[in-house]
Symmetry: C2
Subunit: 106 residues, 2 copies
């Protein structure tokens, strides 16, 4: 038994990503950000789709055509190869994400 | 954009299950319980595996060999055909679950 809200580091040099489950083409991750953003100019371009939810904290995801602000409970689906980056996460508290990678690799 | 913690009914005759995503053999659901338990003698015997987390509230899951108490943040993986039932959810507040069904149907 593990807890999504436990074992949150108080200092984080880099975003922390932990795999909770990996099976049958599905990967579930907990991600903890603390004011982190994607490196300048970096875009995720993933060959699997990703469903993501912010459980605590606040973040902004940038897509090529829009920025989406997310707070606790907000979720969205990112189809494979939809380019995106983490534009901002709040520096005031850890942002805890849950991410489900799924689908065929394309 | 939708929010996992929004639109929680204040009265619930039955447990509420809502599909957030269904694609590529993966189904993500939000489940809201308010003191509900599985019917007497009922056991889930699912042909897909299920990863489940309690996001708010409290619950007890019964397996054939043990009972697991869960509070916010606790998650676990239920392999296909591992029989289980919801033994109890707190009547004091809604219990919000996130469930990811995945894997081959067996």
């Amino acid at each position: 038994m593990h807890n999504l809200f436990a074992d949150i580091p108080t200092e984080l040099a880099e975003e922390l990503s932990q795999t909770l489950l990996a099976a049958d083409g599905v990967r579930i991750e907990r991600i903890v950000s603390l004011g982190h953003a994607s490196p300048a100019g970096f875009w995720y371009d993933q060959n699997q789709s990703e469903w993501v939810v912010v459980l605590k904290g606040a973040a902004k995801l940038r897509f090529e055509d829009q920025i989406i602000a997310m707070t606790a409970g907000d979720h969205l689906n990112i189809p494979a190869h939809r380019k995106h980056r983490v534009e901002w996460t709040t520096p005031d508290e850890p942002t805890i994400w849950l991410s489900v990678h799924y689908g065929k690799r394309s």
